[in-house]
Every structure is written in structure tokens, then in C-alpha cells.
Point group: C2
Chain length 339, copies 2
């Protein structure tokens, strides 16, 4: 059996209350006793049983995070940001993957409920208002929604300013002197449209017109992003009036597009500048170091962590709290090399 308070108490001829008080830093214990207790606690490697203490106190000092997948660098940054933020307040973060599956997500939610986590953070696959209402009602556990789903019904959420993503990329290319900026855009989802709006906004800010010929839509997604980027670039080059700047929905599309361009003999960045999106650690450091948009995963996590802490502190009745994270441009050679 593992060591319990009672064991230490017996060992030291004290009551378990005294041990408990020492461990929780109560002040009404003599320094001598404190020292004796702490010494023995270390020796025996006592680790408190959270199940037991939470039963009494109603808190586990634990937060749950549900991620659609555990293998994505961006989500790892989000998790790290949360962890870092809640740790200093004495909370531990535990994570589950919903494996991009809504039923699995539902089960993980229940796991965390039954584990009595003090707050739940979720990068959810759900989009329905019903879901958000269900999550926030009845139970009085704070739930923070993180990510890009339209979370109108969510009381507390953190998301990235998606319009800025498109705006920043385009703005950068314009400032680097590009006149004809192509966008290999994402799917017709809320996020895809917002980024696209940002792109158009930047163009008109500078008095440039939006040319339909310079926008390439999503094609069949089964083909993979690399091929998508490659093929899109080939299409762009087949049209009259070649672009001098290209931005893409993902870094992988940019890699594909750059490959297509350079196999057509185009010099990067001299003749054509590229901006990807996602700041993928692998893809940005390859042949043409890729300028990309950092979606601020760590900051998203930090803000989400802070929202969670605040919700716990205020008894989860503090109304709505929302945070928007600004994406940042990370310049590299693909767009920013010397001319």
C-alpha cells in the first residue's frame, strides 16, 4: 500500500491532522514539528491522494484539455501555453485526444467530468449551438472553447484573428513590391472565407484590384496539400499575367507551389515571392526557407489558461470572456531575400 497521512502520523506519534496542516502550510504548527514532518514526508516519498482530498475540498487542482489530435505541432504549442499558465497557479493539465471523432470527443468530455477536473478546455469539433449550450449549462464546471470553429454560442473562447492572417500575408507581399498577388486559398469554410477577406482587404487598402484570375480555389482534398499547391501554381502559370507574389492557405501548399514555380525556371524570391501559413517547423526550414504566418499557438494557450483560471476564481458565473489572438508574420527567404 502506498504511504498515507495516517502512516506518517503514526510514525511520528502525531495526529494525521497535524501532518495535513503542515503539508498545506497552515501556520498554527510549531516550526520544530513542521521540520520533523517534512523530513519524514520526503523520506517516505509521500504523495497525497487527490481523489481523497478532492472529495472533501471539491477541487482537484487539475484541468482537462481535449485536442482533436495529439500529433500536430500547433496544438502542442497551444497545450504548452495552457500548461505554463495554469501551472504557476498550482494546476496540472491533463490531455486527451478526440482523434478527430465527435463521438470520441463526447466520451472524453465525460471522462474529464468524472475525473472532476476543475476546468475543461476544448479544441472542439462540434459546431452546433446546442452543443455549446449543453456544455455550459447545468454543470458548474467552466468550459473554455479554443480554436477556429464558429463559437457564437460559447461563453468563453479564444480564437485566432483569421482575417488578419490573410491581411498580414498580403500586406507583406505588397510592401515587398509585389503587384500581382495570387492566393491559393483554402476551402469554403468560415475560416477559409475570413482569410480570403483579409487578402482582399489588404489589396484594396493599397488600391489594388482583386483579380479572380489570381485566386485558386480548393480542389479535391484527397490529393494532398502538396499536390494541390503544385497544381494550383501550374494553373496560375498557364494563365496570362504571371503573379509576382503568391500566398497559400497552408505551408505545405506553399512548398508545392514553390516546387512548381522553380521547375518552371522561376527564381525565388527574385522573380516570385511566397508566403505560407502555419509556421510549420518542418516545412519552413527547407530548401527555400519559407515566410509564414505564425498563428500564435502558445499565446492562444496562455489566454485560454488565463480564462480558465479566471472562470474558476469567479465561480464560473462571470459572464462571457473572449480573446482574439493576432497572427504574426515570420519573414524568411522565400519572400524576403535580397533582390
Amino acid at each position: 500500500m502506498r504511504v498515507r497521512l495516517k502512516d506518517i502520523a503514526k510514525d511520528l506519534n502525531l495526529s494525521k491532522m497535524t501532518i495535513s496542516k503542515v503539508l498545506r502550510g497552515q501556520t498554527d504548527i510549531s516550526d520544530a514539528t513542521k521540520a520533523r514532518v517534512m523530513k519524514r514526508v520526503k523520506e517516505l516519498k509521500y504523495i497525497p491522494n487527490i481523489s481523497a482530498s478532492s472529495l472533501r475540498t471539491g477541487q482537484t487542482k487539475t484541468m482537462g484539455l481535449i485536442l482533436p489530435s495529439i500529433g500536430r505541432p500547433y496544438l502542442a504549442n497551444v497545450a504548452a501555453g495552457i500548461d505554463q499558465t495554469v501551472n504557476v497557479a498550482g494546476y496540472s493539465l491533463i490531455v486527451c485526444s478526440s482523434q478527430d471523432d465527435i463521438d470520441c470527443e463526447q466520451r472524453q468530455i465525460e471522462v474529464f467530468f468524472s475525473l472532476q477536473v476543475d476546468a475543461l478546455l476544448i479544441v472542439s469539433l462540434q459546431e452546433t449551438a446546442a452543443f455549446f449550450e449543453q456544455m455550459q449549462s447545468s454543470r458548474r464546471m467552466p468550459v473554455i472553447f479554443v480554436g477556429d470553429r464558429p463559437s457564437r454560442a460559447a461563453k468563453s473562447f479564444v480564437r485566432v484573428h483569421e482575417e488578419e492572417v490573410g491581411r498580414i500575408a498580403c500586406d507583406h507581399l505588397i510592401r515587398r513590391g509585389c503587384k500581382r498577388i495570387a492566393y491559393i486559398r483554402g476551402p469554403r469554410t468560415a475560416v477559409g472565407d475570413m482569410r480570403s477577406n483579409g487578402y482582399r482587404g489588404a489589396l484594396s487598402e493599397y488600391g489594388l484590384s482583386v483579380q479572380p484570375d489570381l485566386v485558386v480555389e480548393s480542389m479535391s482534398p484527397e490529393e494532398g496539400e502538396y499536390k494541390h499547391g503544385y497544381d494550383a501554381m501550374v494553373r496560375l502559370l498557364g494563365r496570362s499575367g504571371r503573379p509576382d507574389g503568391v500566398m497559400t492557405y497552408t505551408d505545405m501548399m506553399a512548398v508545392g507551389a514553390m516546387d512548381a514555380a522553380s521547375s518552371h525556371g522561376i527564381k525565388i524570391p527574385e522573380e516570385m515571392r511566397f508566403v505560407g501559413c502555419g509556421e510549420d517547423p518542418l516545412l519552413c526550414g527547407m530548401r527555400f526557407p519559407l515566410t509564414s504566418i505564425d498563428m500564435g499557438g502558445r499565446e492562444v494557450g496562455q489566454k485560454a489558461g488565463r480564462l480558465a483560471l479566471r472562470a474558476i476564481a469567479s465561480g464560473n458565473d462571470s459572464g462571457t470572456h473572449r480573446a482574439l489572438v493576432k497572427p504574426k508574420l515570420v519573414r524568411r527567404k522565400s519572400s524576403d531575400g535580397l533582390r
Copy 2:
């Protein structure tokens, strides 16, 4: 307050024992009562408090997994394999990241101890025998070690057959007709050496000699793997007797090496065949679909999950249990295209 057994009992004019029995599927309850109870349980969305039940039963039906990082696709596969395996036995998996930091790892271990998980699986950063002994002594919670650290002192572990990794890659190239096989090898660690032994073993199996000129050592790791692969290839091309097959320690190195080769006008795979390692989902699907070695993350996870279940079932005193996972070759165009 959330719904408790007591609430349902009061609501239905039954004792909480009856409710508890129904929920745990005991048979000594009339079908009529069972139905009534289940109905109300659903309506009230009752979710049991694991803290409370575990205090009584001594188990949480929960396992903990500590990963050095949460953002790596391979580790995600491991986690998915564990999850899948232990779920069917009624266990939930919860994950923590040690962020590649030994102190953090230690803290996460304590978190899981205090959460009373029924088993701990850990892709550990630690290598010392002292660590493994500490982990396995005293506490009677099963600990399963997963991964590539030399785990001699570990009672239960799962790892990949690293020598096979090198052997398989080299064997494949030989069978594809390569005579001069270069290895852009990994660092001088246990794993790096094992794979290298596999490479040499395969060569001598076919009566080919190991040519020091065809092996490139790790250089400064700060430069990044892409550049490493690129530069290594350039070096190989600068020597007399160009290779006709190249294998690398990681997929990224293969991508770098292929870029170098093709910028020297070499045709892939006609003039030179490439095999990477790691089956990276991004890198294997790029310009030259890359033949790679799948390290069987999912299978590693499944085996680890099974070890954990067995250890729990046998009271964790069942001696040592070890499993070795065989890597698999995944053929793609970089090595296997038509001549």
C-alpha cells in the same frame, strides 16, 4: 452541485445502493427497477465521481501516459495505439507532456501518482538505472517504459527493433539493384549505432563491403536536419565513386539529400534511390514521394497497452515483460519507381 447517487435515489424513493448496483450492472435488481433507474440517470445526465469510487475500490480505471512532446506524429500514433487497446478493457488514457525536460517529467509522474492512475506508461527521457529502479520499487503501480532509451533496468518495456530499421532500408536498396549504398547516419547514440549496425549487417549479408567513404556522420545538429541532409549529399557527391542508393537517419535528411542530388542534375530514382526513416506524414508525400521506414508507433502503443493491462491484472508482480516491434518498409517513388 452536480447530480449524485443520493439525488437519484431520493428522486426514485430507492436507496443509493440500488442505484449503484444498477449502474455497475449487478444482477440482483429487478428489471423494472433497472429500467426506472437508467431512465432517470440519463435524464439527469448523471456522471459518476471517480474520486469517490476509486477511494473505495482502489482503482480509477484510468491510465497515464507521459510523452516528451505532444506535437510529434509518431508519438500520436503510440498514444492512439495505447488508447485503442486499453479502452476496450474499460480504461481511459490521459496524457501529459514532459516538454523534453527531465524535471518536468518528474513532476508529471507525481501528478499521475496523485491522480491514482492504475498504470503509468512513459516515453521517458531518463536513462539511469536508478531512475528505473525508483519507478518500479515501493509503489505497486505498474510502470511500462516505451521507446528508445536503453531500458535494461526496466521490468516492462516496449521498443522498436532499431537494428532492423537499418537492415530493412539497406536490404531494400540492394534488392532494387543498388551496389553503392550511402548512409547519412544519425548521432553516436545507442539508437544511432544500432541502426548503423543494421546497415552494415545487410551489406555483408549480400557480400558487399562497408565503405567508410559512403557513410556520413552527424554534423552540428543546430543547423537543422534539412541542411544536414543536403550538405551530406554534397559531400558524398564530391567524393570519387558516387552512390546509387542513399539511406538516411530521418525523413527530413532524405528530403535534403534528394534536393542536393537533384540540383546536381541527378534523376531520382533512376540514377539514385532514396530511403528515409520515420514515415513522416508530411515529408513522405512531397515532391519525390519518399520510401521510408515505419517505426510502427501504433503497434508499439498496442503492445504497451497490453503490457499495462496484463500488469494490472496480475497485480504487477508478474516479472518482466518486454516487447520488440519490427519496423516496416513503406515503398514509394524515391526508391521504387520504374526504371
